[in-house]
């Protein structure tokens, strides 16, 4: 061995675990980001995440969080690597190596590690995303829509992240050589990073700010748009979440510096608390990122149980097995054909009812947006003819539901769901108009009816219905069909066949995005010359183009104006319909939790390395290994437990708040409550996983400190009094 590079090679061999950890972290972060981006930018995904829609915003937000998490854990892994390497660097410098000489060797190593691991991560990210997708297709659902197509542009993100990783590693490496203080190495001294005294009120005030920030952030858009009639610029409402972030930081500071046990247990936790206090700044930053990542991961994890439970309950509580409606100019199967088809599949149809509906214009407030010095504001202007709705006669409603409704002329009742939710529906109207003849009837809106399968319809007096029907062409008339079947659970094939029949026989005239409205269309055409929901404009404005060939896709099933609601079909095809969302959110959760685990692990190992001498001193003072392990556990537990508790409660409370406020009227519906319970089950499962990683990390930290297990648990023996 005659060359300096050979010394480095030997040190690499000796410390191969440290190199493997660094390379693994770089590889893992680039792999996750590449896989995420490949998936997120895939046309398959983008097709179901409408431009500007909430889902896409959520995915982007969580992606930003995942990038932050991966960036943080790669940075900390690098920091840990250089910290471990600092002794070696210090010895070289002490023995006469120049900093440029050390830097040269280090750069050579970093070049190989960073380029190699990033290249491997980037190269395998795509295949990983593809592989996961295929596993999902194989095990869960396989539809034409699920064919994953990658957009090569996704690799730009991957390259950008890899460039960040490489530059960051070189900068940290250079800084580490520059800052390595020979005195620190020679005298085994370490600089600490103490936090100034933190008053004990930080904890409770932090909790208050956290709750306040969450509430203000969520409600600010309602306040601006609903009360001030002002559309705030992008990002402004985000500012209202800042108190929550401040509160979180205060809570973590209080936890690290003071702890929550009060003075009673001061001596019990003395070592753990004191040591954490002197690495406070970085520890708190770590915990903050971990908390946000855990919250983001749960946000992704909750999506599936919330949606799944809510949907399943909704399917189960539907009062009718089969519901569909169609425009009168369409040749869609009616009773005779339905019964014939049912017979083919051995299905017995019961309670068949088909009643006419008409499309009428209703009055309402038109939101007129205006550009001004403050940005976009809106004002409501009452319009006698605002939009259209579908109307049933009272006798028609009775025929469909069996419920008799007595309505005098001029009386109107909207239909809401069985839980009384009016979300997205305004049942109170005062004027109904035949848009084509101009015939108008002033109406009085009564208490809404409750019937899930007819949500959004209006029921009026038979005479009014007849009067307003006059002069309406087929395009403005519809038929509402409801029927039940015997042994509904066994009628999937029939349901599928009927669905296909309906789709096959629908013409392109009704290939409309849900929400397409002829009155609104006329207004848009008159004012702007184009209507964004017209089929030919949907793609341009970011809406799904209804394509009958894609009838099994989530985009089609969630967006078609005339999508039938067949209980068995919806239930059995739920996973298929929501597959894209499910896998995307599961993937998000995997990325975020992985980042959390790596950050927690590296932080705990840093604590172990930094405190090695303290533990040696304590051992010399007579502390038993069991007592020392307990002290280690005090720190490791805090790194894991605090972010886990804070992140979990934060997102769970946020979810509860969303569920509470997103209904009309505000409140938690039984299906939302069931969804929240299912989310709790996810919390339990993930908490078990976090606990597993915590135990593993604790064991590794104890091992690094030479505190091998001697049959007793870290918390086993009593503390010295």
């Amino acid at each position: 061995m005659r060359h300096f590079s050979e010394v480095y090679a030997l040190m690499r061999r000796k410390n191969k675990q440290q190199y493997a950890l660094l390379a693994g972290c770089c590889f893992f972060s680039v792999l996750l980001i590449t896989a995420y981006v490949c998936m997120m930018r895939a046309p398959t995904i983008l097709n179901v995440l409408p431009e500007g829609g909430d889902s896409r915003k959520q995915i982007m937000m969580i992606f930003a969080l995942a990038v932050l998490g991966c960036a943080v854990f790669t940075t900390y892994a690098s920091g840990l690597f250089f910290r471990q390497k600092s002794r070696e660097t210090g010895v070289f410098l002490a023995l006469g190596a120049s900093r440029s000489q050390v830097r040269r060797e280090l750069y050579r190593e970093l070049g190989v590690i960073s380029l190699g691991s990033c290249a491997a991560g980037a190269a395998l990210g795509g295949p990983l995303a593809w592989g996961l997708w295929q596993v999902f297709r194989l095990c869960v659902v396989d539809t034409e829509e699920m064919r994953l197509v990658f957009n090569p542009a996704a690799y730009v993100w991957s390259l950008a992240f890899s460039a960040f990783v490489i530059v960051m590693m070189f900068l940290l490496g250079s800084r580490s050589v520059k800052r390595t203080n020979i005195i620190d190495i020679v005298q085994e001294s370490h600089t600490s990073e103490p936090i100034r005294d933190v008053p004990r009120w930080y904890g409770p005030v932090g909790i208050g700010l956290l709750a306040l920030g969450g509430f203000l952030g969520y409600m600010s858009s309602f306040f601006f748009i609903g009360i001030l009639h002002w559309y705030p610029p992008e990002g402004l409402t985000g500012i209202f979440y800042l108190p929550a972030l401040m509160g979180l930081y205060m809570i973590l500071l209080h936890t690290v510096v003071n702890g929550w046990n009060g003075k009673k247990k001061l001596y019990k936790d003395l070592i753990a608390t004191s040591q954490m206090r002197f690495q406070g700044r970085q520890t708190v930053r770590n915990m903050l990122v971990m908390t946000l990542l855990i919250a983001g991961a749960y946000f992704g994890s909750f999506y599936t149980p919330m949606l799944g439970t809510g949907s399943m309950i909704e399917y189960d509580t539907r009062p009718v097995d089969y519901v569909y409606n169609f425009r009168a100019d369409q040749d869609i199967p009616l009773e005779e054909e339905v019964r014939a088809l049912a017979e083919e599949y051995g299905v017995t149809v019961t309670d068949f009812a088909a009643v006419p509906m008409i499309r009428l214009a209703v009055d309402g407030d038109h939101h007129i947006e205006e550009e001004g010095p403050m940005g976009t504001t809106w004002r409501a202007e009452y319009e006698e003819v605002m939009s259209t709705e579908l109307f049933l006669s009272a006798s028609g409603y009775e025929a469909l539901t069996g419920e008799r409704v007595d309505l005098a002329p001029g009386e109107l009742r909207g239909v809401v769901d069985v839980e009384g939710s009016k979300l997205g529906f305004a049942p109170d109207k005062s004027l109904v108009t035949n848009y084509l003849t101009g015939e108008q009837i002033p109406v009085t809106s009564l208490e809404p009816l409750r019937y899930d399968s007819l949500f959004g319809r209006y029921v009026m007096n038979d005479a009014d219905f007849a009067a307003l029907s006059a002069g309406l062409p087929e395009e403005w008339r519809e038929t509402q069909v409801c029927f039940n079947v015997e042994n509904c659970e066994e009628t999937y094939d029939f349901a599928k066949a009927l669905f296909n029949e309906i789709v096959d026989r629908s013409t392109l005239d009704v290939a409309q995005f849900s929400g397409w409205d002829p009155v609104i269309r006329d207004r848009y055409l008159a004012e702007e010359g184009v209507y964004f929901l017209d089929r030919e404009n949907c793609a341009e404005y970011g809406f799904t183009v209804i394509d009958y060939a894609q009838r099994d896709s989530s985009a089609f099933r969630m967006s078609w104006q005339y999508m039938p609601a067949f209980r068995i079909l919806d239930r059995m095809d739920f996973v298929k319909t929501m597959a894209v969302f499910l896998i995307l959110f599961v993937f998000v959760a995997v990325v975020c939790f992985s980042a959390v685990f790596v950050i927690a692990y590296t932080r705990c190992m840093t604590i172990a390395l930094t405190n090695r001498k303290v533990y040696d001193d304590l051992r010399h003072l007579g502390a038993s290994d069991a007592w020392l392990r307990r002290s280690v556990r005090g720190q490791v537990k805090r790194v894991f437990l605090v972010p886990a508790l804070a992140g979990t409660s934060l997102i769970y409370a946020f979810y509860v708040m969303i569920m509470y406020f997103n209904g009309s009227p505000a409140g938690i519906t039984p299906s939302e409550a069931a969804g929240l319970l299912a989310a709790l089950a996810v919390v339990a499962a993930v908490s078990a996983l976090i606990y597993g990683v915590y135990r593993l990390t604790l064991a590794r930290v104890c091992q690094a400190l030479g505190l091998e297990r001697s049959g007793r648990l870290p918390g086993g023996p009593a503390l010295p009094k």
Binding site: F92, Q101, I182
Partner: protein
């Protein structure tokens, strides 16, 4: 060999400045074995760090041979550390991934001057310091005394003008301490090494030719061993330290 003149060094802690060295002057001649003693805070470690080129002095002069260290830049100081100084640390600072022999060769490797002769010298040093049998072992496999003897051999590999030892026996038991001191004596007699050692240990210091006692950042007293017996010299050292303690009170 080593001339220190009117050396001053202060540290800034917050808004307060602490002057640790208040004008230290001393000389070490070629082949001399000199110890520096003094109570905690007297400035002995700071003096060693300044001579080691680890920290710059505020003023004064440190000359090693004909080289004025204060005038050198970072790379030149590294060159001095590598070629003209040898280091022995309290915590040995051996690299765990290298064998005893490789650790001994490390300064030569860093200096880019490893030849067959250098390797022979490493083997020779192993023989001199009684570590030939363990030369292929790793630091984790040898005792504290053996580690420190390895460190002494490492300090000598590049034929330095001066060996700087910082509490070399601080982490050792009495048997290992004797072995390390013996290795310094061997380095001095067989290899004509010049040794400058900072220590708290009067036993270790009693082997030196001269002991400089620092107090409050200045040289308080210098004791020459001359022909005095080691045990007597150690008693003199202890008396001097006791006297310093009394005058403090």
């Amino acid at each position: 060999m080593l001339t220190v003149e009117n050396l001053r060094k202060s540290y800034q802690v917050g808004k307060t400045s602490y002057e640790v060295l208040k004008g230290v002057s001393l000389q070490v001649g070629k082949g001399e074995f000199v110890a520096v003693m003094g109570p905690s805070g007297s400035g002995k470690t700071t003096l060693l760090n300044c001579i080691s080129c680890y920290i710059p002095a505020d003023s004064g002069s440190i000359r090693l041979g004909k080289t004025e260290l204060a005038r050198l830049n970072g790379d030149a100081l590294a060159e001095v550390r590598n070629k003209q100084l040898g280091f022995v640390f309290q915590d040995f600072l051996l690299l765990d991934g290298l064998t005893v022999r490789q650790n001994i060769l490390l300064p030569a490797i860093i200096g880019g001057i490893v030849s067959d002769m250098t390797e022979q010298r490493a083997d020779q040093l192993c023989e001199v310091f009684g570590i030939a049998a363990i030369r292929d072992k790793y630091p984790a496999e040898i005792s504290g005394g053996e580690k420190q003897r390895t460190a002494v051999a490492r300090a000598l590999i590049n034929h330095p003008l001066l060996i700087l030892a910082d509490e070399p026996t601080g982490n050792l038991d009495s048997k290992s301490t004797r072995a390390v001191i013996r290795s310094f004596e061997q380095a001095k007699s067989a290899l004509e090494a010049t040794i400058f050692m900072v220590t708290h240990d009067s036993y270790a210091a009693s082997f030196c030719d001269r002991v400089v006692i620092l107090r409050d950042g200045v040289v308080w007293r210098t004791l020459e061993k001359g022909n005095t017996e080691r045990e007597t010299f150690q008693d003199e050292l202890l008396d001097a330290i006791r006297e310093m303690g009394r005058s403090d009170n």
